[in-house]
Symmetry: C2
Subunit: 219 residues, 2 copies
C-alpha cells in the first residue's frame, strides 16, 4: 500500500479538474520566504527549485521538483508563511490547489492521503541524505554524489558520455551541495583534468562514471 | 485536521493493545544499520536516539525520540534494512508493532494515517533545520541553537538558571551538531567563560539565555 522508496512521488493522476493552471517563466519566483502559505502546487510541466536563504543571502538548494510532483505542501500541516524560495528553472505550468480544497480531497480519499505520506517520507529521506553529505563529506565527494544523482534523474546517453539533461551553472551546483561557487568550479576543473567529465558553462558530460563513483568515497 | 507544526507528534493514544512491550536498558542498541526493517516502535517511556554512522564510524545524531513518538517507520514506505543506529539513552519501554499490523491499522483508520503524515512532515522539518545549520552556521551558532532546543524540550527552571534535564556528554552534543568533540568542548568552555552557562561532564545550566540567543546569529 505504501510501497515506494523512490524520491519522486507523482500526484499527476490527481485532481486534473481542481484548482487553476498558472504559467511561469524560467527564472520566475513562485513564492519567497514570508509569502502566506495557503496553496499546494502540482507541477504539470517544467521544473521548480526549492531553496533556503539564510539572513546574509546565502542559498542552499533543497530539492528540484519535477512534473507530477507537489510542493508548498507544508501549508497542510500548519505552516502560515513560506520558508523557502520557489523558482521555476524551466518554462513551467503549475496547478495551484487551495489548501481547503486539498484538505477536503484527502479527507474523502485515503489514497491521496497515502500518497502524501509517501511524499513526505521521500522528501525526508532526501533531506537526510543531504544532511549526511554536509556532515561527513568533502566538496569533491559531495559534488560527485550530486552529479551522479543528476545523471540518474536527468542523464541522456550520448557518444561522448552521459549528458546531464538539466542546464545548471556552477553557482547552482554549489547551492545544491552547500559549497562556495569558487570551490565547486575548482572541483569541476579537477574532475575535467582527470578525464572524468567535460564541461562548459551550462553543460556537463560524464565521461568516466566509474571514476566519478570512486570520488564519492574519498574524504 | 492536519493541524500541528510541532516537531513532536504523539501516537500515545493508539494501539495500547497492539504489539509487544520491550524493556531496553540505557545505552542498549535497538537496531543498527543493516538490521531487517519490519516493525514500527512507539516509545512508551524513556528516550531513544537515532543516529547516522558513516563508513569511518563518525556519527551524526538525527533526532531524539520521546515518549509517545514513533520511530522505525521507514519500513512502512519500503525500507528493507535499517539505515540508522537506534539506542536507548535512558531506561526505556518500547511497544513494537509489526509492519503488517501497522499497515492494517492505517488502512482501517484514516486518523492514524493523518498522524503519520504529521509525523513525517515534522521529522522532515527537523532535518531541514539541521541542514540549514550545517550549511550556514559555525560551531558556536550551531551549539547555541542546539542548547536552546534542548532547553525548550527538556529545560527545568532552577535557582542558577535553566537546567537541561537530559544528561548529555560533550561527545553527544558534538554528534548532535555535526562537529568534532574537541571543538564542541572549546565552544562550551568559551560560553562558560562568558558567563552564558555552567557545565560539568553531564550537566548544563543556561545562566544567560539572551546571551545564548545572540550567539545563534553570529557566524
Amino acid at each position: 500500500m505504501l510501497s515506494t522508496t523512490s524520491n519522486k512521488v507523482s500526484f499527476a493522476d490527481l485532481w486534473a479538474d481542481l484548482g487553476d493552471l498558472i504559467d511561469v517563466d524560467r527564472g520566475e519566483t513562485i513564492y519567497h520566504p514570508g509569502t502566506p502559505s495557503n496553496s499546494v502546487y502540482i507541477v504539470e510541466s517544467g521544473r521548480v527549485k526549492l531553496a533556503y536563504l539564510d539572513e546574509s543571502g546565502k542559498k542552499l538548494t533543497l530539492t528540484i521538483v519535477d512534473a507530477g510532483e507537489i510542493f508548498g505542501e507544508m501549508c497542510l500541516v500548519g505552516e502560515k508563511h513560506r520558508r523557502h524560495l520557489a523558482t521555476a528553472i524551466e518554462e513551467t505550468v503549475l496547478r495551484c490547489v487551495e489548501k481547503k480544497v486539498f484538505m477536503k480531497l484527502i479527507g474523502e480519499d485515503p489514497a491521496t492521503l497515502q500518497q502524501l505520506v509517501q511524499h513526505f517520507a521521500a522528501r525526508m529521506r532526501e533531506f537526510e541524505e543531504t544532511l549526511e553529505d554536509l556532515a561527513f563529506r568533502d566538496i569533491q565527494a559531495r559534488l560527485s554524489r550530486q552529479l551522479l544523482k543528476l545523471s540518474d534523474e536527468y542523464g541522456v546517453e550520448t557518444k561522448e558520455g552521459i549528458l546531464i539533461g538539466l542546464s545548471v551553472t556552477h553557482k547552482e551546483l554549489a547551492d545544491m551541495i552547500g559549497s562556495a561557487r569558487e570551490n565547486t568550479t575548482l572541483a569541476l576543473n579537477r574532475f575535467a583534468r582527470e578525464g572524468i567529465l567535460d564541461k562548459s558553462r551550462y553543460r556537463i558530460v560524464i565521461k568516466n562514471e566509474a571514476g566519478l563513483r570512486k570520488k564519492c568515497h574519498a574524504t
